[in-house]
């Protein structure tokens, strides 16, 4: 009898200790989960999750706007992380199948990213690690450097696709000591006319998809203060800077030293 009781107890403990099975539908969530040391909890990620390299070897569940619901279901997850903004139907469909869905709000500032870190950590039962990671990250980009911010043009995608003030990218530029020239626009991602960009005359240009040569070949690019000062930056990592994840904080520090020197 005692033996049986012990066996039952042991089994209960084993079930308790069984790792969570988590699915992440956004690359930034995947990066946060790995950074929390919970990468082994992940059983599935989106097709776009390519960082850290281990994420690339996990089961793929499709893109984040239209994940393959059956594939997610088949992975028998305990929790699925999705963006609250990325189509409510994904969350509804998964919830209807009895899967716990954590729909995280869209990050519009760098502080929001730390909030996402805490929410994910809490859902994974790793509150302490979440606090530690949030502290570590915010130490990398604590506050804007002293001095006048540098007027910055950020081109995320070729053809003038930039971000307005409703994007965390604009806030990241601020923390790096820059001021997004389109930061006053109440928009997220939009295509800015080249004429307006010329008029705003940024002092530095941060390019993620075009080469410097392509940028300089645009009409009157040579008249930009950024070009005259040789501040056309193409060395930052596009994924790291445009995903609201942990790698952004290192990129902010890099941009800060590019704009303001090592200080």
């Amino acid at each position: 009898m005692a033996k049986l009781l012990a066996a039952v107890l042991l089994l209960c403990c084993a079930v308790q200790a069984r790792a969570l099975r988590a699915v992440s539908l956004l690359p930034s969530y995947t990066e946060i989960i790995f950074e929390l040391g919970a990468g082994s909890d992940l059983v599935g990620v989106s097709n776009f999750c390519n960082w850290p390299p281990e994420a690339g070897r996990l089961e793929k569940t499709g893109d984040y706007l239209r994940p393959n619901i059956e594939k997610v279901y088949a992975l028998e997850p305990d929790v699925v992380f999705t963006g609250a903004w990325a189509g409510a139907s994904t969350g509804k469909q998964l919830s209807a199948l009895g899967i716990k869905v954590v729909a995280l709000p869209e990050e519009r500032s760098v502080a929001d990213i730390l909030n996402t870190v805490r929410l994910i950590a809490a859902a994974l039962g790793r509150k302490k690690e979440g606090e530690a990671l949030a502290r570590k990250l915010s130490a990398l980009a604590p506050r804007p450097p002293a001095g006048e911010p540098v007027k910055l043009y950020i081109e995320v995608d070729a053809g003038g696709w930039t971000t307005g003030g409703l994007s965390f990218i604009s806030d990241a530029a601020r923390l790096a000591g820059g001021r997004n020239v389109f930061g006053g626009e109440r928009r997220g991602f939009f295509q800015a006319t080249w004429e307006e960009t010329l008029l705003l005359d940024p002092e530095a240009a941060l390019l993620f998809s075009v080469t410097e040569r392509e940028f300089l070949s645009r009409p009157m690019a040579g008249t930009l203060a950024a070009v005259k000062a040789g501040r056309v930056i193409t060395s930052l990592d596009r994924d790291a800077f445009t995903r609201p994840g942990p790698r952004l904080f290192g990129e902010i520090a890099r941009l800060r030293s590019l704009l303001h020197g090592k200080n």
Binding site: F48, G160, W161, Q191, T193, E195, L198, V210, M220
Partner: protein, 309 residues
């Protein structure tokens, strides 16, 4: 004569709008270096598409024919996207040849499919064009999904717009479009004869097959030059001939140049509107044209239905 000056007036107004409107006001630098090249690009693309539309509508005797509806643009776009993925430079002759091959192949396929149904009806041609376009668009989407890194700039190209026209591409495209216009103008009598139907044309000493093939080549070349420069922009080729025909009458002799001028005016105005209405955000010219053109297409269908009733 008054009608021609109306057309020229519209063209001048569109150019003036495109050159004068923008956040920088009338700064000479901006007008000369920025708005002028862009206006020239819009003029070239619009003229090419207007010409192609007039040729297709004339040679096929079909009021719904246009490079967008027939799949010509989709063929050119698919070829262009494949070239980008293969790393072919936009200024290389290979690029232009490939884009032309895509345009011609897609158009011929639509035509051949529509002919399978027997008598070449308006509806069969549109249906075949829709089928070919849909397939090619799906191919493009597949290519975009596969090419994750560059997919956004390619997507932008597929959407159609003139954000930054390279001077080299502009020069080559404009030359091709001008040549197509001149070659088509030299054969305006044949195009008029085709309006009488194959038999009528034959009696006038015109070989319908030969002329059809020639005008297909001209129209596809003009379309592919336009696509190489501005991506997929629809409805210019559909709308322009209908509008200018009201001014010029049906003869290709005046319709072809009028379609070139009218298309140029239409797209230049659409592009200028797209970059000024919601400034500093830009609406690609292709989107502006679809907003204006799709209702026009519906109106044509409605008018056609009433004509038969």
């Amino acid at each position: 004569m008054g009608k021609i000056s109306l057309l020229l007036g519209a063209l001048a107004a569109a150019c003036l709008f495109s050159l004068a409107a923008g956040p920088a006001g009338l700064a000479p630098d901006i007008i000369w270096n920025l708005r002028l090249p862009r206006t020239l690009a819009a003029l070239a693309v619009g003229a090419g598409l207007g010409l192609a539309g007039a040729m297709f509508q004339g040679v096929l005797k079909n009021p719904l024919a246009d490079p967008y509806i027939l799949g010509t643009s989709a063929g050119a776009t698919a070829a262009a996207v494949l070239c980008f993925l293969a790393g072919v430079e936009r200024t290389s002759p290979v690029f232009f040849l490939a884009v032309f091959a895509g345009a011609f192949g897609a158009t011929f396929l639509s035509y051949w499919l529509a002919r399978l149904a027997g008598r070449l009806s308006d509806a069969a041609l549109v249906l075949a064009g829709v089928a070919v376009s849909a397939f090619l668009s799906a191919l493009v989407m597949l290519a975009l999904t596969a090419a994750r890194e560059r997919s956004f700039s390619l997507f932008y190209f597929v959407l159609g717009g003139l954000y930054s026209a390279e001077p080299g591409v502009l020069a080559v495209s404009a030359l091709i479009i001008a040549a197509c216009g001149a070659l088509a103008m030299a054969r305006w009598r044949a195009l008029d004869a085709m309006a009488l139907g194959a038999e009528g044309a034959y009696h006038l000493g015109v070989s319908p097959e030969r002329e059809r093939a020639l005008f297909f080549v001209f129209a596809c070349a003009a379309t592919s030059a336009a696509v190489a420069l501005g991506g997929t922009i629809g409805f210019v080729g559909l709308m322009t001939p209908h509008i200018v025909r009201l001014l010029t009458g049906p003869s290709a002799r005046s319709l072809l140049p009028a379609a070139a001028l009218g298309g140029a005016a239409l797209l230049t105005a659409a592009d200028a509107a797209g970059r000024t209405l919601f400034s500093p955000a830009e609406i690609p010219a292709g989107v502006v044209m679809a907003l204006a053109g799709a209702p026009f297409f519906m109106w044509l269908l409605w008018r056609g239905a009433r004509g038969r009733a």
